[in-house]
């Protein structure tokens, strides 16, 4: 075996990734981050120390065997790396792009104590993209059961739950209210961060597992959760409807024309492709001077979409400082590169009317940070007499979302006082056989956390149905072309 790596022996610099030129890319929707090449991925893999007690695995919401797949990359066994990742994470091409790695695996990487941490996300994405371009897919040996599973919502939580239940031999149907599947991956995250082709490829893989997708289906209103269990004959149901209901600004002028939620901006632009108006029918009149309130990932997406749609100036308003901004560090960095103007420690007070019902300016106030609040972040306090105005014809608010109310309105599931669904430790709701996970349980979070919740719910569902996960039958690689590691799911037969 090769000599043990130490922080001193590994390549000291993180392998850089090619990115499109900020000036050029801010006028198009091409993906900004070009991803690692084979050579770059292999080079970066040499920075992993293969810690005996890998902290990165614990830092990953779905516990990917990170050193394991990095080792395979180092051996140029990319297929092997893919097999390891897909053992726990269904969507490496998506997660490598949108996970906030700096708060998860890379945030706890031991290399990071002295150097820049290992670029785990970029390597994961490299493997995911390679799998898509080579059409690799791990169709496991599936032992069919008689169970039928209904999934409400085709976002990351629903997709993860669907995959696990399909692998467990269940007949899975995913319902989506929009006309295209993918949830937030489709309507929310823009193409320059997550190309639609990647989402399509991942959905295609689910279909290969036998998962059926039914779009144009608003569960709750077209049929209720109870009807799914009775008339439609599902043995268990998973609810992953997300937290889509945007929070209003709640300041004077927030209903003026030109004031809209980031959800509306992004849905029009991404799902409805309004940037091609009038070749498509959905319009998206963009202002010349756009102001976005908030500094989360959604805010960054809204800022960068506005820039690409041709706004002359795009400004971000955030009431705390850059250090508290909830967005991924890379997104803030990219936005800065693309010429987005940031007003940190500034809060909106009032949106001003141009006299015709449209926005003409936004009045703000400077803030300073006081004592830490309940979230552990320092509470912003307004500075008296520091008000200022920014001229704008479009204000986008990205200050968070609330629970989608439809399932609550149409079922008697127990909700908590904020309207999210209450679940037990197995992610089961107050209705037997009905599980929930993702943003509709926790409130707005990340793609990978939703996927983790979907998988956890699938475990609860298997327990509920009496499907038992047994350990690997043998540790060998493949037998008769069947990947033995995937023979994990066997129903306990009691009749």
């Amino acid at each position: 075996m090769a000599k043990k790596r130490t922080v001193r022996s590994i390549p000291q610099e993180r392998t850089p990734v090619r990115e499109l030129d900020p000036l050029e890319r801010s006028a198009n929707f091409e993906e900004v981050n070009c991803g690692y090449t084979e050579t770059e991925a292999v080079l970066e893999s040499q920075r992993c120390l293969y810690c005996p007690d890998p902290k990165c695995i614990a830092g990953c919401p779905v516990s990917i065997n990170i050193p394991g797949f990095i080792e395979r990359i180092g051996e140029r066994d990319f297929r092997g790396a893919y097999d390891i990742i897909t053992g726990t994470n269904l969507l490496p091409a998506v997660c490598g792009r949108v996970c906030p790695q700096e708060n998860q695996c890379e945030g706890v990487c031991v290399v990071g104590e002295n150097l820049v941490p290992v670029a785990i996300g970029r390597m994961e994405r490299f493997v995911g993209d390679l799998a898509i371009s080579n059409s690799w897919v791990n169709i496991p040996y599936i032992d069919p059961t008689r169970f039928r599973i209904g999934i409400v919502g085709s976002g990351p939580a629903g997709m993860a739950c669907a995959a696990d239940m399909a692998k467990a031999g269940c007949d899975v149907t995913v319902y989506e209210a929009f006309h295209e599947a993918g949830g937030v991956l489709r309507y929310g995250i823009p193409e320059f961060r997550l190309p639609n082709s990647v989402v399509d490829a991942e959905i295609e893989k689910l279909k290969m597992l036998g998962v059926k997708f039914e779009c144009n289906t608003l569960v709750g209103r077209l049929f209720t959760i109870r009807q799914m269990l009775t008339e439609l004959g599902f043995d268990a149901v998973f609810i992953g409807t997300g937290a889509g209901y945007p929070t209003m600004l709640g300041i004077p002028g927030d209903s003026l024309n030109g004031v809209l939620s980031a959800n509306e901006l992004l849905t029009r632009c991404n799902l409805m492709r309004a940037r091609d108006f009038p070749n498509v029918d959905t319009p998206l009149p963009l202002g010349k001077h756009v102001v976005v309130v908030g500094a989360g990932n959604t805010a960054m997406d809204a800022l960068r979409v506005s820039k690409r749609l041709g706004a002359a100036s795009v400004t971000c308003l955030y009431r705390r400082s850059k250090a508290e901004a909830p967005a991924r560090a890379e997104e803030v960095h990219h936005a800065e590169q693309e010429g987005i103007e940031f007003h940190w420690l500034s809060a909106p007070v009032e949106i001003l009317d141009d006299g015709d019902g449209s926005v003409c300016a936004i009045r703000c106030i400077k803030m300073e940070l006081g004592e830490p609040d309940a979230s552990g972040r320092r509470r912003p306090m307004p500075i008296g007499g520091s008000e200022f105005e920014i001229e704008t014809d479009q204000v986008v608010f990205a200050i968070g979302t609330n629970a989608n109310p439809i399932i609550g309105q149409t079922s008697d599931l127990k909700l908590n006082k904020r309207g999210y669904i209450d679940t037990d430790a197995d992610m089961m709701t107050s209705m037997a056989g009905v599980f929930a996970g993702g943003d509709i349980v926790t409130g707005a979070a990340t793609v990978i956390e939703a996927m983790g919740a979907g998988r956890k719910a699938a475990r609860g569902m298997k327990k509920f149905l009496g499907i038992r996960d047994v350990g690997p039958i043998s540790s060998g690689p493949a037998r008769f072309g069947i990947n033995t590691r995937e023979q994990n799911y066997r129903r306990v037969r009691t009749m």
């Binding site: 849905t267 108006f277 029918d281 319009p283 009149p285 019902g357 989608n404 109310p405 439809i406 309105q409």
Partner: protein, 294 residues
């Protein structure tokens, strides 16, 4: 089999037409007051349309559409019997609360005549005395008069030019009904915002409960975009998931009407472009068949 197949179509005037779409599950789930989101093709807009009627036995829902913009004009051309819609999601919104009113006025203006029908029928089935007030610009635009006759105890037709029924707006019809009946429990008004505003004003003094069905601009219809937010009293509500029915006396109609103007310019561009392509198609010369010279 096509999904969302169009099984019947009827044209009520140059601009108003009815589509009956096959969707047995929705026909079973639909209730008065709810709406659907329709996409006529993959590049189309998602447009909200009130469910004008539903037939649980036939498994169909009925939409009445007025060709006023690009998408609806296009639907008027391409949506034919045997064809199908690209997308159809619903039934959306909270069903109208069917009160135990003993005497109710159901007001429909223009296109609002269609969605007020299932509500009027529900009142009738509930044993109420139903007074219908329908407003149209002129005689030629009248539709569903016979349908309403079968369920209304009284029917007042109002036309702007007096070519049928009484001359005047629906508010004149409401006032007429209020004059003859002192015991009206409830008024339902559906139509253009300006009409609903006037109807609510007409009943405000008497303090009669007046419900209106709002039609703001929407994208998803599932509570996600917030484009359909309306001011009701002190609160901001989403018409798609908190409505579309609200207390007409509490709705800020001026705010609604300003917000409905948001995409006026884009609508004009799209409509002009559409008319242009239609003209080009209409004047295009049929290709001359080449003689076989082989």
């Amino acid at each position: 089999m096509n999904r969302f197949e169009i099984v019947a179509r009827e044209d009520y005037s140059d601009v108003t037409f009815m589509l009956e779409v096959l969707h047995p599950m929705m026909a079973r789930a639909a209730n008065p007051g709810q709406f659907v989101i329709v996409m006529s093709h993959a590049e189309g807009e998602r447009i909200p349309l009130t469910i004008a009627d539903f037939d649980r036995d036939k498994g169909t829902i009925t939409l009445v559409i007025q060709a006023v913009g690009k998408s609806t004009m296009e639907m008027q051309t391409i949506c034919q019997v045997g064809g199908s819609l690209y997308g159809l999601a619903g039934p959306m919104g909270i069903p109208s609360h069917l009160s135990d009113a003993r005497k109710a006025i159901c007001v429909g203006g223009g296109l609002g005549v269609a969605p007020v029908f299932p509500q009027a029928r529900a009142f009738k089935q509930n044993g109420a005395y139903v007074i219908g007030v329908l407003g149209f610009r002129n005689k030629d635009l009248i539709f569903w008069e016979d349908k309403f006759r079968t369920i209304c105890d009284e029917l007042i037709i109002c036309t702007d030019d007096g070519s049928a029924g009484i001359k005047g707006f629906v508010t004149d019809g409401i006032n007429l009904a209020l004059k003859h009946h002192q015991d009206i429990d409830e008024v339902i008004a559906i139509g253009p915002p300006v009409m609903m505003k006037a109807s609510a004003d007409a009943t405000r003094a008497a303090g009669i409960r007046t419900m209106v069905s709002l039609n703001p601009i929407m994208v998803d219809g599932t509570g996600m975009c917030g484009g359909c937010r309306v001011k009701v009293g002190e609160e901001v509500r989403f018409a798609c998931v908190d409505g579309p029915d609200f207390d007409g006396h509490a709705v800020d109609f001026d705010d609604l009407m300003v917000r409905l103007r948001r995409y006026k310019e884009e609508e004009r561009v799209a409509t002009e472009r559409w008319s242009e392509t239609c003209r080009m198609r209409a004047t295009a010369v049929d290709p001359i068949e080449m003689p076989d010279i082989g």
